[in-house]
């Protein structure tokens, strides 16, 4: 799969939100590719821009600048009518299964609405398709007659997935698909997404704050901080050896359910700075334990890590830190 061509190429994406106290640079010059049939994770903490990127790609948020080339067409230049046609090919799964389903509609109608919008099935074929979709996500055809409130959080997330799959999309953005769920159910949904992705050959962009969850689902990972990419590359390579101090800190901050596991002493101090006034140079430098004056200069962008295919790091001190055994 490593030679798969990109289905989505995002170039220099920026999103600025005006606010009373200035301009928030939520996403600042982000570029990446999502290869066909693979899963890419967008990971970061609050203010990292991960959700804004995921929604910009679908134009649920209008980007300020940049390109999102999907199968050769820049989605950002499409007129609204054309974009609607593309929505059949690009779908989204939301975080909160409680607010993303209309409580007044039966499940069959929620899924059927997606079919109707794109004129995909009518009458008996429509009913059969709804039943098939419900079965595919681990529910029963009879569930079509029920309302969202009759389901648990995990079941609602299954309904959300069925709705996204109804139009046979090629590309799905999943925005924190399991973070509102209980742990015992979270694993069910992660496995369901894995199975469906493989079975249907979907290309996916998963937005998540939890790097450990993403590790299970993703081929590639993009680590964001304050609207910029710190590191990106194959999930395995990044997990095995992060080449940016922020990725390393993020990995070591995740609590491990094993008291015998090795514990990293890398604890980041301070708060995430306001995206209204991000630090100069490397935006992570104010919390980086390895920051030097050089980090305050220039505009570091991710550059390839020698020896590892497709892994990029934006740390300007990477070579030094590697020599010191830090990275």
């Amino acid at each position: 799969m490593s030679d798969a061509s990109p289905l989505l190429v995002v170039e220099n994406l920026s999103k600025r939100f005006p606010s009373t106290r200035g301009v928030v640079r939520a996403v600042d010059g982000v570029s990446f590719e999502v290869r066909r049939g693979t899963v890419t994770g967008l990971v970061g903490e609050s203010g990292s821009g991960k959700t804004t990127i995921g929604r910009s790609v679908l134009r649920l948020v209008e980007p300020s600048s940049g390109k999102a080339v999907f199968d050769g067409v820049d989605l950002f230049t499409l007129p609204p009518k054309e974009m609607r046609r593309y929505r059949r090919r690009l779908q989204i799964i939301f975080q909160d299964p409680y607010s993303s389903l209309d409580p007044r509609m039966r499940v069959g109608a929620i899924i059927g609405e997606a079919l109707d919008t794109h004129g995909l099935a009518k009458g008996a074929a429509r009913q059969a398709r709804i039943a098939e979709l419900l079965t595919k996500v681990g529910l029963q055809p009879e569930h079509a007659r029920r309302y969202p409130h009759e389901f648990s959080g995990g079941q609602r997330q299954r309904i959300g997935i069925a709705r996204a799959l109804a139009v046979e999309p090629e590309f799905i953005v999943a925005d924190e698909p399991v973070s509102a769920l209980d742990v015992s159910v979270q694993a069910q949904i992660l496995n369901l997404i894995q199975d469906l992705q493989a079975e249907l050959g979907l290309t996916m962009l998963i937005v998540a704050h939890d790097l450990t969850v993403v590790e299970y689902l993703c081929d590639d990972v993009i680590v964001l901080y304050l609207g910029r990419i710190m590191e990106q590359g194959p999930a395995r390579a990044i997990y095995a050896r992060p080449r940016h101090p922020y990725t390393k800190a993020l990995l070591s901050a995740a609590p491990v359910p094993d008291p015998d596991a090795e514990r990293s002493e890398l604890v980041l101090e301070g708060d995430i700075p306001s995206p209204l006034s991000p630090p100069s140079g490397c935006v992570f430098r104010t919390r980086c334990p390895y920051a030097k004056p050089v980090c305050a200069e220039g505009d570091p962008v991710p550059v390839p890590v020698t020896g590892v295919e497709r892994q990029l790091s934006a740390c300007v001190r990477r070579a030094e830190l590697e020599a010191e055994g830090v990275l």
């Binding site: 648990s152 742990v183 993020l250 491990v256 359910p257």
Partner: protein, 363 residues
């Protein structure tokens, strides 16, 4: 430590109406056979059903469970802060005061309870704004708290507030006394809430998911802070969480709850190494653990995309609990006997208890 044997004999005696067992002076909090119900018959939700545990001096007990497990309701029962419609329907909650006497918290009036809250037992929540007043400066809030429980003047109280902010590692504490909560970041607000909770040096801190809403790097800071303060102040902590990773970071003892009941309790390392209830085991398998699942194999080849093992089914509703073991419908070890009647919490080792009739097969 949780002495489950003591706990059970105490529970039996309480139920029989006999005087309470001679307590170990080390025990700060003793919860015995606690039942907390919501609603009226026939639709009574048994949010907490026969919960027994101990918290000893200077130790952190984690109560871990998913939604509907009753973990938060149990902690609110201790504080007598139950929402409308909730009531303690049985059991006892005893707390050892600073003076050394054991009092029954569930028998106290709201007025008496107010003297305990803040002064001897304090509580912090997931969302700091539930305990912070948005219209008061953080300095005034901490000072007011201290003046409520101790005979000191405002100047001294404000100086004490500054010291508390330093204790929770707020930089330039003196300059922050005049800040309002909205001027602070989420992590800083959590620190202020901790400062407020600890202002009167409580003997017990109840922390209800205090890091759940925080970013992971900030969560790490707050866990370290709570761990340090707990050790330095020698206080006991009851830590409510859904996250087994957090349990491994902070707990000495663990109480696992499912659908209102304690299903397992053990010293922290013992619980992770030798879980003796299928729910605990299932939760461990379902929790992401990259070190276990994704580490490169011995040959240096990166592991293939591994899978988690979910627990099938859904968490049951507390109004529709099965007669027998509440986990039976989802349990891989289920046999007919599991559904016949509620299994007892039995000792499987001196400090380890499980509410599973097939616990021996898990050892």
């Amino acid at each position: 430590m949780l002495r489950t044997g003591d706990a059970m004999s105490a529970a039996v005696m309480t139920k029989a109406g006999a005087p309470l067992a001679e307590d170990d002076p080390d025990i700060i909090l003793a919860v015995d056979g606690l039942e907390t119900h919501f609603g009226r018959p026939p639709r009574v939700a048994k949010a907490v059903d026969d919960v027994t545990f101990r918290v000893r001096a200077g130790e952190t007990v984690a109560v871990v469970g998913e939604s509907g497990s009753g973990k938060s309701v149990a902690s609110l029962s201790i504080m007598q802060l139950l929402a409308r419609g909730g009531r303690i329907a049985g059991g006892s909650i005893r707390f050892r005061q600073r003076s050394g006497t054991m009092i029954a918290l569930d028998k106290l009036s709201q007025k008496e309870m107010r003297k305990i809250r803040g002064a001897e037992i304090a509580m912090i929540f997931q969302e700091p704004m539930t305990s912070l007043n948005p219209l008061m400066t953080i300095g005034d809030q901490i000072a007011e708290m201290t003046m409520l429980h101790e005979p000191i003047g405002r100047t001294k109280a404000l100086e004490h507030a500054r010291q508390m902010l330093e204790l929770v590692e707020i930089p330039a504490a003196g300059n922050r006394l005049g800040d309002y909560p909205h001027q602070l970041s989420g992590g800083m607000r959590q620190r202020v809430m901790i400062a407020l909770a600890l202002a009167c040096k409580p003997r017990l801190l109840i922390a209800d998911e205090p890091t759940t809403a925080l970013d992971v790097t900030i969560q790490k800071q707050i866990l370290r802070l709570l761990e340090r303060l707990q050790a330095e102040m020698g206080m006991s902590m009851l830590f409510i969480t859904h996250n087994l990773g957090v349990v491994a970071e902070i707990a000495h003892e663990v109480v696992v709850m499912y659908a209102g009941r304690v299903v397992e309790q053990a010293p922290m390392r013992e619980l992770f190494r030798k879980p003796r209830h299928p729910y605990t085991l299932g939760l461990l398998h379902a929790t992401p653990n990259p070190a276990r699942d994704l580490a490169p194999s011995a040959g240096g080849e990166p592991a293939v995309r591994r899978r988690l093992t979910p627990i099938p089914g859904n968490v049951p509703s507390t109004t529709e609990l099965p007669d027998g073991c509440s986990f039976a419908p989802r349990c891989p070890l289920r046999i007919d006997a599991c559904e016949a009647r509620k299994p007892p919490l039995v000792k499987v080792d001196p400090d380890h208890a499980s509410r599973c009739i097939r616990h021996e097969e898990l050892s």
